[in-house]
C-alpha cells in the first residue's frame, strides 16, 4: 500500500488528487492537506469583486467531495518536509499544523510514499508598505477579498450617484507581480459596472501595471494575425483601453500605498504619486515558506527551494542573460532533483526565469512581471504528475515520467471585460506555447496558427460556461474526468 500526499487543494493540487483517486487501486491512499476548507474557482473572483457573484457562487466545501471520492482530507498548513524521515524511522513525512476551527495550531505528522507540493502562493502584501485589504488597498485574490472589494465598489458608486467624482486605480502592487490578466479583467468589469450604474462620467479609471507595455500579461505579449497583418497584443490591448476611456501607466513598481495615495517608480527612474478613492492592487507572490530537513534535522530548505521559496524541480536554474534563456530550461516532469518521490506543480514550482523581459529602473529597481502558471497549465501539470505517480506505483519505479512543459503546452485564456449575456464581452485568447520557443518558431517564438485573440460577447458566454463546467468538474460529478483541464 502506498500513500500519496497532496499539499494544497487549488486547481493543480485538487486535479492531481482526483486523478490519483480515479486511477489508483483503492488499497492505495490519497491524502490532501489544505489550510482552506473550501475550493475556489479563482477566475470568477473578479465577478465577486464587482458584486455580480457571491462567494457562495465561486466556492464549495472540499470535505464532502473528498469523503465521497475516498480521499482523506486534513484542514491544515504544511510546515516542513522531512524527506529522509527522522532518526528513529527513515519513512518520509510532512509536518502539518491544523487550521480547523477549534484545532488551530495542533501539530501532526503524515508519512508519505509520494508527495505533491501544490501549495500555491503566499500573497505577499507585506512586500509593499500599505498594500492589501488589511491596509490601504483592495484585492480579488480570494473570494473573501473580492466580497470586501465589491462592498467598497458599491459604496463608491453611491458616492458618484450623489455627484462626487472619484478616481479608481487597478493593477499590480509591486514590480514583480504576476496575474496582470486578473487586473485587466477587473478594471474592465469595474468600468462596465460603473457604466451600467450610469455614473461613468464621474469616474476616472487608471490601470497601474508593472508590464512594460499593455498586453504583455507576463508572457512577453502575443503576436496575432489581424486584418492581413501580424500585430502584437499591445495595440490589441490598448484599443480596448482607448475605447473604454481607461488611462494606463506601464512599467510601474509600487513603492507605497498610503490612505488614498499610491507612490510608484517608473522605468525612467522617476517617482510619482497618484491620489485615489478606490484601489485594487494585486500583491506579488512568494512560496508559502515550507521548510525541509534531513533525518538529522539539518535544514535542507535552500537545496529544495529557490530564494523566492518556490520548489526547485527539473528546470535549468543556471543564471544567464535574458538572451540566452531557452524554452528547454523549463521543467517537464516537475520532479524534485534531490528526492524522486517529491513533485511540485502549479504556482508552487520555481520557474527558471521570467517569460517577459525583466527590466530595471535607472535606480536599479527590478520591474519584472513574473510568469503566470495558473489555470489550464496548472491543471495539466497536476494531472501529468498524478499520472507519473500512478505509473510508479502500479508499474514500478523505472516507469517513464509523464511530461508537460509550459514550452510545449498551449493555454486558452478568456479575460472578461463585462458581465452581461447581451452587452458583456471578453477577450478570448489562445497561445501556443505558453513559453516562447525560438528554436521551433524562430521569428516570434509561438505558432501563429494557435496564437489568437478577439473581443466579443461570445467570449463572455464562454467564460460563464467555463465557470459552471469547472466547478462541476472540481465537484467530481458524473463524468468529471471527461472535461479537460
Amino acid at each position: 500500500m502506498s500513500r500519496v500526499v497532496v499539499l494544497g487543494a487549488g486547481i493543480s493540487g485538487h486535479t492531481a488528487a482526483l486523478v490519483l483517486r480515479r486511477k489508483l487501486p483503492r488499497d492505495h491512499e490519497v491524502v490532501v492537506v489544505s489550510p482552506n476548507r473550501q475550493w475556489n474557482w479563482i477566475p470568477s473572483n473578479i465577478w465577486v469583486g464587482v458584486g455580480r457573484m457571491t462567494k457562495a457562487d465561486v466556492t464549495f466545501e472540499l470535505k464532502p467531495v473528498y469523503d465521497r471520492k475516498g480521499i482523506a482530507f486534513y484542514q491544515a498548513r504544511a510546515v516542513a518536509l522531512h524527506p529522509e524521515g527522522k532518526a528513529e524511522s527513515s519513512k518520509p513525512f510532512v509536518a502539518i499544523e491544523s487550521t480547523e476551527p477549534g484545532q488551530e495550531g495542533v501539530k501532526a505528522e503524515i508519512s508519505y510514499d509520494f508527495l505533491i507540493n501544490a501549495t500555491g502562493p503566499k500573497l505577499n502584501f507585506a512586500a509593499t508598505p500599505g498594500l492589501g485589504p488589511a491596509a490601504n488597498s483592495l484585492s480579488v485574490c480570494t473570494a473573501e477579498h473580492a466580497e470586501q472589494t465589491a462592498i467598497v465598489l458599491a459604496a463608491a458608486i453611491e458616492r458618484m450617484r450623489k455627484g462626487e467624482a472619484l478616481t479608481f486605480v487597478v493593477g499590480t502592487g509591486h514590480g514583480v507581480c504576476t496575474c496582470e490578466g486578473a487586473a485587466f479583467e477587473y478594471i474592465f468589469n469595474l468600468e462596465f459596472e460603473i457604466r451600467r450604474a450610469g455614473v461613468r462620467d464621474k469616474a476616472r479609471i487608471v490601470m497601474l501595471t508593472n508590464e512594460a507595455e499593455l498586453g504583455d500579461f507576463g508572457v512577453d505579449g502575443l503576436q496575432l494575425r489581424r486584418g492581413g497583418y501580424v500585430i502584437g497584443s499591445k495595440p490589441f490591448a490598448e484599443s480596448l483601453f482607448v475605447e473604454r476611456g481607461v488611462e494606463w501607466i506601464t512599467g510601474a513598481h509600487v513603492q507605497k500605498v498610503a490612505p488614498n495615495l499610491v507612490s510608484y517608480e517608473t522605468l525612467d527612474g522617476e517617482t510619482h504619486s497618484l491620489a485615489f478613492d478606490f484601489a485594487m492592487l494585486l500583491p506579488p507572490f512568494t512560496g508559502v515558506g515550507l521548510k525541509a530537513f534531513d533525518a538529522a534535522g539539518v535544514d535542507l530548505s535552500s537545496e529544495l527551494f529557490a530564494p523566492n521559496q518556490f520548489m526547485k524541480v527539473d528546470a535549468d536554474y543556471t543564471a544567464k542573460p535574458y538572451e540566452d534563456w531557452k524554452a528547454a530550461d523549463w521543467p517537464s516532469t516537475y520532479q524534485c532533483p534531490k528526492y524522486a518521490n517529491i513533485f511540485a506543480v502549479g504556482i508552487a514550482f520555481a520557474p527558471p526565469h521570467q517569460i517577459s523581459r525583466p527590466r530595471k529602473t535607472r535606480n536599479g529597481t527590478l520591474i519584472a512581471p513574473a510568469p503566470p502558471r495558473t489555470g489550464m497549465p496548472s491543471g495539466v501539470m497536476g494531472k501529468t504528475v498524478a499520472l507519473s505517480i500512478v505509473d510508479f506505483i502500479t508499474k514500478g519505479a523505472d516507469s517513464p515520467l509523464h511530461r508537460a512543459s509550459m514550452s510545449h503546452m498551449g493555454a486558452a485564456c478568456v479575460a472578461s471585460a463585462g458581465n452581461s449575456f447581451v452587452r458583456g464581452s471578453a477577450a478570448s485568447m489562445t497561445m501556443y506555447p505558453v513559453v516562447p520557443d525560438y528554436d521551433r518558431f524562430p521569428e516570434l517564438g509561438r505558432d501563429l496558427r494557435f496564437t489568437t485573440g478577439e473581443i466579443g460577447t461570445a467570449g463572455h458566454w464562454i467564460k460563464r460556461i467555463l465557470h459552471t463546467l469547472f466547478i462541476y468538474k472540481a465537484k467530481a460529478r458524473l463524468g468529471w474526468w471527461l472535461i479537460p483541464e
Binding site: P235, E238, F241, E243, W248, I249, T266, Y432, F450, E485
Partner: protein, 48 residues
C-alpha cells in the same frame, strides 16, 4: 510609462462596425462556435 495622452491618441481605436459586431448576436453565435473549436484544438495540443 506615464498617463499616455500621446499613446492613447496613437492607439488603434475600434470602428463603429467593429463595436457593433462585438455584441451582434448572430455574428457572436458564429464566433462562439469558432472560438470553441479553436480552444478545443489548443486543449488537445496541450494535453498531448
Amino acid at each position: 510609462m506615464t498617463i499616455p495622452n500621446e499613446s492613447a491618441k496613437n492607439a488603434m481605436k475600434p470602428s463603429g462596425s467593429v463595436l457593433f459586431f462585438r455584441t451582434f448576436f448572430p455574428y457572436q453565435l458564429y464566433r462562439f462556435v469558432r472560438i470553441n473549436l479553436r480552444m478545443l484544438g489548443m486543449i488537445l495540443k496541450g494535453h498531448q
